[in-house]
């Protein structure tokens, strides 16, 4: 547990708990930015052979995930000056406990799978699973539209972790796809957020409740 990889991954896990406890959007965005940085640098320590291409790719991801996207969302918040509360459906205490259970569950599940590569860290599968689960949790347990977008980004972080470290050969098209996904998703959601703000004067998704059964 003293390798750099484990430390990085445990920081990523810790960021999940902090994101569950954050009640304010700026705080949540900062946690996500931190998580983006941490997750992006994992491939550097994964023990794969690093070519110049993948190094450049990793750095680009770092900039996009760690700085560009959080900054973009932060600007949206500033611009539309929306409520800063994340409006939880599940309370913060329950969220933290759920996060802990999630990590335990992910640790348990992570051992069921053999990895094709020797990743020099046992924390990798649990972290990836936790990130995915935590993203889903934020999507479901927060009513604020931006918090939901952040949950989506967290899920993408998990997928990035799976895509870049589980597989032996760095399939560039896979990495490209992941980057494209998060970029496109965030962009279109940012545009949507602006429209929601204009139409409803708020980004609480509780307002988006007219269409239902």
């Amino acid at each position: 547990m003293n390798g750099p990889m484990d430390t990085i991954l445990s920081l990523a896990l810790l960021s999940i708990l902090f994101s569950f406890a954050s009640s304010r959007l700026p705080g949540l965005i900062k946690v996500l930015a931190f998580q983006g940085v941490v997750v992006s640098i994992v491939p550097l320590f994964a023990g794969h052979h690093l070519s110049i291409g993948s190094l450049v790719f990793t750095l680009t991801t770092l900039v996009i995930r760690g700085f560009a996207i959080p900054l973009c969302i932060y600007m949206v918040i500033k611009k539309v000056s929306i409520a800063r509360e994340v409006e939880p459906i599940v309370g913060y205490h329950a969220s933290i406990l759920a996060g802990l259970l999630l990590i335990v569950g992910a640790t348990w599940a992570g051992h069921r799978f053999d990895l094709p590569v020797n990743t020099n860290s046992q924390l990798l599968p649990p972290t990836a699973i936790s990130l995915l689960g935590a993203g889903m949790f934020l999507l479901m347990a927060r009513r604020n539209a931006i918090a939901m977008v952040l949950g989506y980004i967290m899920m993408e972080n998990g997928i990035y972790l799976v895509g870049t470290t589980f597989s032996m050969r760095a399939l560039h098209i896979v990495e490209f796809g992941i980057l494209l996904d998060v970029l496109a998703g965030v962009m279109i959601m940012a545009v949507m957020l602006q429209n929601i703000k204009q139409t409803f004067d708020d980004v609480d998704t509780a307002r988006l409740r007219t269409l239902k059964e």
Binding site: M1, L17, A21, H93, I96, L100, I103, P126
Partner: protein, 306 residues
């Protein structure tokens, strides 16, 4: 054995001194000269010279409260390996015994506060009963973690010799989370900022201070001394973890240990200087953070201890 008893006595005697360090740090940040480092000794001496006043509505419980809280605190210190040297008493499972000793002390403080039938003290008692429940959960999580790492369940096994250093080598970075969690527990259990403000003068917002409003003279002195000892115990936990070195030479060890304890107290003073007290409803989240941290540390550490 004699060395252990000496160290134990020294710990109790020096506890008020360390507590004064916190005041000094706060004074420094407030730009004041601050009270002398021996202030608490003067206060204690003054209190013991006074007589006690008892309300006619109180019973024996009220008088027992201070005695038990001091007694449990200094008994708990008996089990702690000061500076990594062997403790005065130790048996397998004493870690749990110590937690429950402290719980007993808290129970009597609460009972004494309720005994006065003052609404303020009842309010304080309710809070005092609520927040440490979560603390207890994290404390037990810490012991589970340490138990899994050492295979034993006693404070001497956890903190004596070079065991703290071994924690670092087996568990690694999650130990940082354990330390942060322990620090949060320290702040909560000892009613420090940001959970409770010992300097506040508004009963509505107090936790610990409001419970001892009716104690006076020697009784209050006993409570103060008990509080200092308890704070020392928690600081000693952290001190052993942040400074896990073992030089075998007693004098060096003691000096280093004292320096580490001093560091913890300074940290408490720093926190008190830069933070404000939390609103009551935000305290549980703060305390829960400690539980989350240590639980998290336990999960990922046990992953590697397999």
């Amino acid at each position: 054995m004699i060395e252990s008893i000496l160290l134990w006595t020294l710990a109790i005697v020096s506890a008020p001194f360390f507590a004064a360090v916190i005041l000094r740090v706060k004074a420094f940040f407030g730009g004041r000269k601050g009270s002398p480092l021996l202030i608490h000794y003067y206060t204690l001496a003054k209190l013991f010279k006074k007589g006690s006043v008892y309300s006619t509505s109180t019973t024996l419980i009220f008088k027992l409260g201070p005695l038990v809280s001091l007694g449990t605190a200094i008994t708990a210190l008996l089990f702690f390996p000061m500076a990594g040297r062997p403790p005065v008493v130790s048996f397998s499972g004493d870690a749990i015994f110590v937690f429950y000793l402290l719980g007993l002390g808290r129970f009597f403080t609460i009972a004494a506060a309720m005994d006065t039938a003052s609404p303020f003290e009842g309010m304080g008692a309710a809070r005092e009963a609520y927040f440490p429940i979560i603390c207890e959960a994290s404390m037990f999580m810490v012991s589970i973690l340490f138990y899994r790492l050492t295979g034993e369940l006693s404070l001497s096994a956890f903190f004596s010799g070079n065991q703290p250093a071994q924690f670092w080598s087996t568990a690694g970075s999650p130990m940082i989370f354990v330390i942060i969690a322990l620090f949060i527990i320290l702040l909560t259990e000892n009613a420090r900022v940001p959970v409770d403000d010992p300097a506040t003068h508004l009963e509505l917002t107090m936790i610990h201070e409001v419970m001892v409003l009716d104690h006076s003279g020697p009784d209050f002195g006993l409570i103060e001394l008990g509080a200092f000892s308890k704070l020392f115990l928690y600081s000693a936990f952290i001190a052993r973890l942040i400074c896990p070195f073992d030089f075998v030479h007693p004098a060096l060890d003691v000096a280093l240990f004292a320096a580490a304890v001093l560091l913890v107290y300074i940290a408490v003073g720093l926190v008190e200087s830069v933070m404000a007290r939390y609103r009551m409803d935000r305290v549980p989240k703060f305390v829960l953070t400690s539980f989350a941290l240590v639980f998290f540390a336990a999960v990922i550490t046990l992953e590697f201890a397999k």
